[in-house]
C-alpha cells in the first residue's frame, strides 16, 4: 500500500459462480487524476468500478482507498463511502423526495447539517450543474440529462475526494449527453479525482489523464489518451477502437 495513491488496487479477482469476470486487476490512481475506462461490454470495467466502493464483494485481492483496505471487515465502509461519490447509468434518484431533498439527505443524516444549511448547500451544487430552478420539483419530472446532473450534485454534496462514474451518459438521449459531459469536465478541471467508465471516446480523449482498456476481465493496455487512441499497441485495443470510432 502506497500513500501517494488515492486508489490502489492489487491483484483483484471477482467471480460470479464459475464465471471469473475480473482476473487479477492492478491499478493505481493518483490524487487529481482522471482515469477513463473503456472496453467492450462484458469486459469487466463496470464490475471493477463497483468493487471500488464495495457495491460488489471481491473474491481476492485488495482495494485501498486513502490507505484503508475496504475489503477488510474492520473498515467502516459507510465512512469510506462518504468520501467516494458515485454516479450511476440509471441515475437512481429517490422518487419519494424532491430534487433538493435528494441532495440534502446524506448531509443531514451523516454530516449532522441542519436542514437550512443542507438546503443552502444543495442549491449551491444545483447551481454548479445548472439546475437551481428545479430544486423543488419531483425528480421523475426531469429529463434524463437533468436527472444525471442532479445525481452528480447529490454525490458532490458529501464533498467526496473521489468520484466514480458508471457509464453516466449511456442511458441519455444524444442531445442530453453534452450537458452532463460538460459538468464532468468542469469537475476534472477543478482537480477532482475521477474514475469514469464510458463509451464517450471524445470525452476520454479530451479529459482523461489516462485511458485504461479493459478486455475479457483484464487490463489489456493503458496509457495517455493519445497513446491509446493514436498508437494502440495491442490487437484487441485496435479492433475495439476500429469498431467504436468508425461508425
Amino acid at each position: 500500500m502506497d500513500k501517494q495513491y488515492k486508489i490502489q488496487v492489487k491483484d483483484l479477482h471477482k467471480s460470479y459462480g464459475d464465471n471469473e469476470v475480473l482476473k487479477g486487476i492492478n491499478l493505481n490512481v493518483k490524487p487529481n487524476e482522471v482515469v477513463c475506462m473503456i472496453g467492450p461490454s462484458g469486459s469487466g470495467k463496470s464490475t471493477f468500478l463497483r468493487c471500488l466502493n464495495r457495491l460488489e464483494e471481491t473474491n481476492s485481492g485488495h482495494v485501498y482507498i486513502d490507505g484503508y483496505d475496504i475489503a477488510d471487515k474492520k473498515t467502516n465502509i459507510d465512512l469510506v463511502r462518504q468520501n467516494i461519490g458515485m454516479v450511476f447509468q440509471h441515475f437512481n434518484l429517490f422518487p419519494n423526495m424532491s430534487v433538493a431533498e435528494n441532495i440534502m439527505l446524506a448531509p443531514v443524516q451523516l454530516k449532522k447539517m441542519t436542514k437550512d444549511e443542507a438546503r443552502k448547500a444543495a442549491l449551491h451544487y444545483l447551481d454548479i450543474v445548472g439546475l437551481k430552478e428545479k430544486a423543488d420539483v419531483n425528480p421523475t419530472t426531469l429529463s434524463g440529462g437533468q436527472k444525471q446532473r442532479v445525481a452528480i450534485a447529490r454525490a458532490l454534496a458529501m464533498k467526496p475526494d473521489v468520484m466514480l462514474f458508471d457509464e453516466p451518459t449511456s442511458a441519455l438521449d444524444p442531445e442530453m449527453v453534452g450537458d452532463v459531459l460538460e459538468v464532468m469536465q468542469t469537475l476534472a478541471k477543478q482537480g477532482m479525482t475521477m474514475v469514469v467508465v464510458t463509451h464517450e471516446m471524445g470525452f476520454a480523449k479530451r479529459v482523461a489523464d489516462r485511458v485504461v482498456f479493459f478486455h475479457d476481465g483484464v487490463i489489456r493496455e493503458q496509457g495517455k489518451p493519445d497513446e491509446i487512441f493514436d498508437h494502440p499497441q495491442h490487437e484487441d485495443t485496435k479492433s475495439f477502437l476500429d469498431k467504436v470510432l468508425n461508425v
Binding site: L55, L79, V80, M86, F88, N96, L105, A106, M158
Partner: protein, 485 residues
C-alpha cells in the same frame, strides 16, 4: 445501528402483546377463604347449558346443569368459575388439568370411565321420536318409505341407523338442531330422533313438533372429574346431587326446562326481521364491537409482526431471512382455525398458564394475518429498484438509514393496496375465532339462533352487518390510498 432499530420494533411488539393480555377477558376471582374450582362446560347444549345473548351463563334460565351447579355450590359451600369451551375440549382440558370438573350433558360410558370419575347421575337421557305437530304419524311402523332427519353424531342418529332397515326409512343428516327441526316441522322429513330433553326444549320454545314415542336407549348423564383426582370435589358434588334429588329440587329443575309449551314471547310478531333486530340489538352490537376490537387490535399487531418479518426477510443476514421465511411459511400454511385451537387449547398445557380468550384470538390473528402481511411487506421492499439501495448506500448511508429513508417510503406505496385488502380479510377472518368461543359477531349469531331458532333471518341480518362494515372499510381505505398515492 441496524440491530438497535430491530430491537426497538421487537420491544414495541412485546408491549403490545402485553396490552392484549390485559385487554383479555378476565373471569371474576372469588375470595380465597373457600376453595374455588374451575368447572369446564360447553358453549351451548340446550336445555342443559343455555347461554345468554352474550355467550355467558350469567342471566336468568341458564340451563339445567348450570342452575344445578349453582344450587349445589351454595349448599356445599364452595366457589367455582366456569370455563366455556367445546364439548371435546372439556374432555381434553380435564385430562390436562386445566379444569377441575367437566359438565355438558355428558353420558356415562364405559370408555370414558377409564379416564374419568363420574358423579352420581342426575338425569337419564333417552332417544325419542318427534313428528310435525300436524302430522298423523304415531309409531315407527308408519315410517316405511319415508325420510327421517337426524343430527350427525348424536345418540338419535345412532339409534335411527340401527332401526332404519327394520322399519324401512331413509336417513338425512343435519349439523344443527334448528335446521333439522325446521325440516320436520315443514313436512320435508317425516320424523326426527333426538335426545328427549333437547327435543322438549325445542318444542317448549315454539318448534311445531310433537313427541310420539317413549324414551329408549337411555344413558345416565353426569359430571366428570379426572380419574383419581379432586376426590373432595367429587364428594361434594355427589352429596349435592343426592340432596337435590331427595328434596325434589332436581325434578323441579328438569320440569322447568322440558315441560310446557311456547312462551308468549314467541308470537309471530316477535319473529319479523325488525323485531329480531330490536330484540337482539344489544347482543348484536356487543358482538360487532368485539369483532371490530379483534380486527383493529389484531390487524395492528399483524402489521407490526408483519413489518418485523418483512424487514427480516430482506436483511443481508442469511439467518434473519431464514427465520422470516420459515415463520411466514408455517403461519401461512396452517389453517387459522388450527392455529386458534393450538393457542387457546394447546398452549396453556405447554406454558402452564391460562390464556384469556380475547388474547388467544388476537395472537391468532397476529400470527396468521401477520404472516400474510410479512409476505406483502417483503414483496413491497423487494419491488423497490435495486439501484435505490445502491445509490443510498454509496452515499454512505448505513443499512438502517437507507431502509427507513429511501426504501421504506417507496415500498409502502407499493404495498398499500395489498395491506388494505389484508385488513378487510382480517375482519372477515375474525369469524373463524367463533370456533374457540370468542363472542364476536358470528358466535353471537350462533348463540342467538340456538335460542330463537330463526336461522334464516338471523344469518341474513348478520351477513348484512358484515357487508355494511366491509363497505364502510372499503370506502375508508380507498380514501387512505388516494392520500398515500
Amino acid at each position: 445501528m441496524r440491530k438497535h432499530w430491530l430491537i426497538k420494533l421487537l420491544m414495541s411488539l412485546a408491549v403490545l402483546v402485553g396490552f392484549g393480555l390485559v385487554m383479555g377477558r378476565q373471569e371474576p376471582i372469588h375470595a380465597a377463604s373457600e376453595p374455588t374450582y374451575t368447572i369446564g362446560t360447553v358453549d351451548s347444549f340446550e336445555p342443559f347449558e343455555i347461554p345468554n345473548n352474550r355467550g355467558t351463563y350469567n342471566g336468568k334460565n341458564p340451563g339445567i346443569e348450570i342452575e344445578m351447579l349453582q344450587q349445589i355450590a351454595k349448599h356445599e359451600g364452595f366457589k367455582y368459575r366456569l370455563k366455556v369451551m367445546s364439548f371435546d375440549a372439556t374432555l381434553t382440558a380435564l385430562q390436562a388439568g386445566q379444569i377441575d370438573a367437566s359438565m355438558g350433558g355428558m353420558s356415562v360410558t364405559n370408555e370414558r370411565k377409564a379416564t374419568i370419575d363420574f358423579t352420581k347421575s342426575y338425569y337419564d337421557s333417552g332417544v325419542v321420536m318427534a313428528v310435525a305437530s300436524n302430522s298423523n304419524i304415531k309409531s315407527l311402523k308408519q315410517l316405511k318409505g319415508k325420510t327421517v332427519a337426524v343430527k350427525s353424531g348424536t345418540s338419535g342418529a345412532i339409534y335411527a341407523k340401527s332401526i332404519a332397515n327394520k322399519y324401512g326409512f331413509k336417513i338425512k343428516y343435519y349439523k344443527t338442531d334448528n335446521t333439522m327441526w325446521s325440516d320436520v316441522a315443514n313436512g320435508n322429513s317425516a320424523a326426527t330422533f333426538d335426545d328427549e330433553p333437547v327435543l322438549r326444549y325445542g318444542i317448549r320454545n315454539g318448534m311445531k313438533l310433537r313427541v310420539v314415542t317413549k324414551a329408549v336407549n337411555s344413558q345416565p348423564v353426569a359430571m366428570g372429574i379426572k380419574k383419581g383426582q379432586n376426590q373432595e370435589l367429587l364428594h361434594k358434588l355427589n352429596d349435592g346431587i343426592t340432596w337435590m334429588q331427595k328434596t325434589g329440587r332436581m325434578q323441579k329443575l328438569l320440569d322447568k326446562y322440558t315441560k310446557g309449551s311456547a312462551s308468549k314471547a314467541d308470537s309471530a310478531s316477535q319473529r319479523t326481521i325488525p323485531a329480531l333486530i330490536k330484540n337482539n340489538a344489544g347482543a348484536l352490537s356487543a358482538g360487532l364491537v368485539e369483532t371490530l376490537k379483534l380486527t383493529i387490535v389484531g390487524a395492528f399487531l399483524a402489521l407490526v409482526f408483519g413489518i418485523v418479518l418483512g424487514v427480516m426477510g430482506i436483511a443481508e443476514n442469511k439467518v434473519l431471512t431464514g427465520i422470516s421465511s420459515t415463520l411466514i411459511y408455517i403461519f401461512r400454511g396452517m389453517p387459522m382455525i388450527v392455529l386458534a385451537f393450538f393457542i387457546y387449547i394447546g398452549m396453556p398445557g405447554l406454558i402452564g398458564h391460562k390464556i384469556p380468550l380475547f388474547t388467544a384470538g388476537v395472537i391468532t390473528l397476529m400470527l396468521d394475518e401477520g404472516a400474510y402481511v410479512g409476505a406483502i411487506v417483503k414483496g413491497g421492499f423487494d419491488a423497490v429498484d435495486r439501484g435505490q439501495w445502491e445509490a443510498a448506500r454509496s452515499l454512505g448511508l448505513p443499512y438502517s438509514k437507507a431502509l427507513v429513508k429511501v426504501i421504506m417510503p417507496q415500498g409502502i406505496k407499493i404495498m398499500v393496496p395489498s395491506l388494505v385488502n389484508q385488513f378487510i380479510i382480517t375482519l372477515k377472518d375474525t369469524s373463524i375465532l367463533s370456533a374457540i368461543g370468542v363472542m364476536e359477531l358470528t358466535q353471537t349469531g350462533t348463540v342467538i339462533i340456538s335460542r330463537n331458532l330463526e336461522g334464516f333471518k338471523m344469518w341474513l341480518i348478520i351477513g348484512v352487518i358484515y357487508i355494511v362494515i366491509i363497505t364502510l372499510l372499503t370506502w375508508l381505505s380507498n380514501y387512505v390510498q388516494r392520500k398515500v398515492a
